[in-house]
């Protein structure tokens, strides 16, 4: 698993629950080191071990923890760079949803060896969508639910999201857009100082 993903999980656990929890997780997962490096590669089994250890330490269901991770990735101040990169996807939340098909490609533009889930959006109506998510590991769908929930907030849209299960390795998420411009949303400028 790419270090960026592992490092994000570590940052999520550290920023949300503190460094003591992260050390307990690292020990329980038998990492053998203190920190993931964002620019190195790791065995996939380590990622699963960390998520399992965190779920067990926090006594939270694995799916809920993954969803929190997704929300964190977009909404935490330490992750501003990622939020900005996602906002390049479109000027409105619906625009952004349609840009999800390009997400793995966009990810690879930035980091060529980053293996992101294949996403396919289909519209059931102009406000109802289904997102099929085929990740390199199961569980990406729950992370995506968290990401989408936070991105809806970011755009100021009101949406209902639901992970409706996994079939043949494809996780399905339903998105019901209740109000495209419910709130002001967070500002986004194409270019920032030093950006």
């Amino acid at each position: 698993m790419h270090g960026l993903i592992n490092r994000s999980i570590q940052s999520f656990l550290t920023d949300t629950y503190g460094p003591v929890l992260w050390r307990r997780v690292a020990t329980a997962a038998r990492l053998g080191f203190d920190d993931f490096e964002a620019m190195l590669d790791y065995d996939d089994a380590l990622t699963d071990a960390v998520i399992d250890a965190a779920a067990s330490q926090l006594r939270r269901p694995r799916d809920a923890l993954l969803e929190d991770l997704g929300t964190y990735l977009v909404s935490h101040p330490n992750r501003e760079a990622l939020r900005r990169l996602l906002r390049f996807g479109g000027v409105s939340f619906v625009d952004f949803l349609h840009s999800l098909d390009d997400l793995p490609g966009r990810g690879r533009l930035a980091v060529p060896d980053l293996d992101l889930p294949q996403l396919q959006l289909s519209a059931r109506s102009d406000r109802q969508f289904t997102l099929a998510c085929r990740g390199p590991r199961p569980g990406y769908g729950h992370v995506m639910v968290g990401v989408l929930r936070a991105m809806a907030d970011d755009y100021g849209a009101l949406a209902l999201l639901d992970h409706t299960g996994t079939q043949d390795g494809v996780e399905t998420i339903t998105i019901d857009l209740l109000e495209p411009s419910f709130a002001a949303g967070r500002p986004f400028a194409l270019a920032t100082r030093g950006g």
């Binding site: 190195l40 990169l85 390049f88």
Partner: protein, 377 residues
Amino acid sequence: MLATDLPPDLPSLDIACLARLMPMFLWVLPSGLIRAVGPTLRKLLPDDPVGMPFFDLFTIRRPAAAPGMAELQRLSGARLHLLLRPPPGTGFRGITVPLAAGQGALVNLSFGIEVADAVRAHHLTDSDFAPTDLTVEMLYLAEAKSAVMQELHELNRRLQQAKAAAEEQALTDTLTGLANRRAMDQAVDRLIADATPFGLMHVDLDFFKQVNDTFGHAAGDAVLQIVARVLRDETRVGDLVARVGGDEFVLILPGIAQTDPLGPVAQRIIARLSEPIDYRGQSCRVSASIGMTVSTLYPRPRPGRLLSDADRALYFSKSQGRARATAYTPDPEEEGEPPQAEADRRMAPAATVTLDTSAPDPGLNVAPRRLTNGAAP
């Protein structure tokens, strides 16, 4: 299909449609006045440019061109580099094409490589660019690249720290591959903790400074590497050979409870190190002086005490003319630290072995048994 069924050659295009296709276009009349401007370009200009002379607002930097419509017509189809005259002097790429007779020219602009600065300076958004324009993707890439670079910088910083920490904890001398002083200290501590007897030899090269001064440091380094090989050759697998200073080495020999077996080892080392060492056709000559002790001489061996006693024996070898080995022998009545002069006296050599070598001083003093006075045989 008949030729007469074809639409006319010149498609007539609504200005609003043109604006959608090219939000940074300019229509310049034959008089040089601006007739229309695209909405994004309009945002970059302080005042409404319609009716203003094109060359009042823009300079063509490349290719070299004088202001005037004739020049604009001449540069038709060429890749233009333009500058906006009003601040902040934004740079553009552009192309101009002639319109139908009497209609002037169409100029289309895009941002140059400083696109991020322009977008920031003029507060542009996604909708200011044509959907076919890759400017936004370029901004995305620039930003993604910065984020990745940031991560790499941090990784490098952490690796740098880890490297410094690893060097701090290293146990190997990088030049010779021998153990370093830290490794030697750890080995001695372990042997003392396990109550394993051991011999300790302090080896100091003779005439090493002359090799460095005469042949240079590269020769000195080569000599040290050969010395390291000799020391490893002449010791057992379980012995520890450490380089503890520039030309100083310490050998730890576990299981040696008496100084006697150290004598022949020292003798072989001195004999081999006294042989000339070839460095790029030059003959470098060194030899070695050695001081020795064994842990069993001490009721409670302390590393510092063993090393300083071996050092004193080494000093004695040096003072006796170098290329010798001396074993430290304590005064049986003495409990504490003996005064320097007495210690030196007690370490007088017991036997001299003359070696048939070309060493500067081919003498070898080995003290295989306890001495209580300074008399040489």
